[in-house]
């Protein structure tokens, strides 16, 4: 992304500067988190990358392709699992394959592999309402990865889960990421989650939404939950929280 701006026309005839001069490049295979107080434009940023909304100025590209509409190089995980209730888990995971008219046979194998990787083998033929929230979200992650995208966008994917499930899902995500090695951009409300998962954390500040700082998290990998109690992790959390306090927003 370079020089990216997004300006909304508001109902009152005025304008809202949702994103201002966003410049950022992620390395291949890097895990990036985007944090910031409500209204800082982090979801807008993700939606631009997903090709769902247009940008006002500047450029955004994924694997060398300028994003102007949804690209096949992108997979996305949503706030809610958004599985289709009339499809089985396997059929849900196959949605991107069907939509993009890819080779079904080849990707069926891939889908089953991903479900196994996500600990969902044996649930292929179940319907979404027969699964717990955490399992549904894991199926949602499999769906985002089935067409082997180079970038995985995640929009507060674990926000609706309870604290225990959330920690567990964080570990699962790291495990899946290690296997599939996508570039991940994760929007989250949780500072600790961002520190725990990421290589770099983008801290944003609101009105207009801009990058306040990019913090490199040089904690060793593989990461464990115990490491989150260490001083090293605490320093990062404190540093990020400082920006939230400065913005006078309580999360």
């Amino acid at each position: 992304m370079s020089g990216l701006h997004k300006i909304y026309n508001t109902r009152g005839g005025g304008t809202t500067h949702a994103l201002s001069d966003i410049n950022f490049t992620a390395k291949k295979g890097e895990f990036i988190s985007i944090v910031g107080p409500s209204g800082c434009g982090k979801t807008t940023l993700l939606n631009i990358l997903a090709g769902l909304i247009s940008k006002t100025e500047g450029s955004a590209s994924v694997s060398g392709h300028e994003v102007s509409k949804p690209l096949p190089e992108i997979g996305m995980v949503f706030q809610a699992p958004t599985l289709l209730p009339w499809r089985t888990i396997l059929e849900n995971v196959m949605v991107p394959v069907e939509v993009q008219k890819l080779d079904k046979k080849k990707h069926l194998e891939k889908a089953k592999e991903l479900l196994t990787l996500a600990g969902l083998d044996g649930f292929e033929d179940k319907y979404p309402n027969e699964l717990s929230g955490g399992m549904q979200q894991r199926a949602g992650i499999c769906r985002a990865l089935v067409h082997s995208p180079s970038v995985l966008l995640m929009d507060e994917p674990f926000g609706a889960l309870d604290a225990m499930t959330r920690e567990y899902m964080n570990l699962e995500l790291l495990r899946i990421w290690k296997e599939s090695n996508q570039t991940i951009a994760l929007v989250t409300h949780s500072i600790t989650e961002a520190v725990f998962l990421s290589d770099r954390v983008i801290v944003m500040s609101p009105r207009p939404g801009r990058i306040a700082e990019i913090i490199t998290i040089d904690l060793p990998r593989p990461r464990t939950l115990e490491m989150m109690n260490s001083d090293a992790a605490g320093v990062f959390v404190k540093k990020i929280r400082h920006y939230f306090n400065a913005a006078n927003v309580i999360e």
Partner: protein, 260 residues
Amino acid sequence: MKSLRNRPELILTPVVFVIFIALWENLVNLLEVEEIILPTPSRIGDALLVQLKTELFWSNLWVTSQEALLGFLFATLFAIIAGTFISQIRIVDKTFMPYLVGFQAIPKVALAPIFLIWFGLGQTSKVVLAATIAFFPILINIIEGLKSADNDQIRMLRVFGASRAQIFFKVQVPCALPFFFAGLDVGILLAILGAVVGEFLGSQAGLGNMVLNAQFNFETPTMFAILLVLSAMGIIAHIIVKAFQRKFAFWGDSSNIIGN
């Protein structure tokens, strides 16, 4: 036995039925109500058995079923076509909705005499009336159903690169199915109503025609007997629609569906 304890209605419903029939039978006898005003259930049962043995009854039953079913099929077909255009194309929605709402406000039964003039005393006028009456609840449910698709689900498909047609067939149509079947459930009963009312106003055959003949001859038990047959038709139609719904829209959350 445990299932009976958990579901007392399995006993209570038949008990209420027996008490109701017994009261009816005995009160009519006790108060010496004339049969032409209110026959006893046993007399109605006799009349029904007599009818079931005549060929005329079965041919009339066939005539009415045919009218209702054809009317229902036409109503469904037109509702699917109109509903698709209205839900997908904004300008069609905006242009034609006022006409539909206006037409909906006409008491459709009042159109029956006009249909008789246009289509004659035969079955055609009944089919048209049945279709006209059944059309609106089916149409409204289809429109609401196609619009009911979750925004998040549509967004999800768009991110993965779905075209408009793919979004329509992969999300909007499945989302509409529970509504569609709720509309069919109401529609089939209204189609039967339309066929019978059409027959009342002028016909040569059909169950409605039989009711009129029975009335002409002061055969009140026969009138009640045919009423029973008409209810049975409605119940069977309802059960069939529900069976299809369970098969094709098994995920349906029917709580927010119109007319359910």
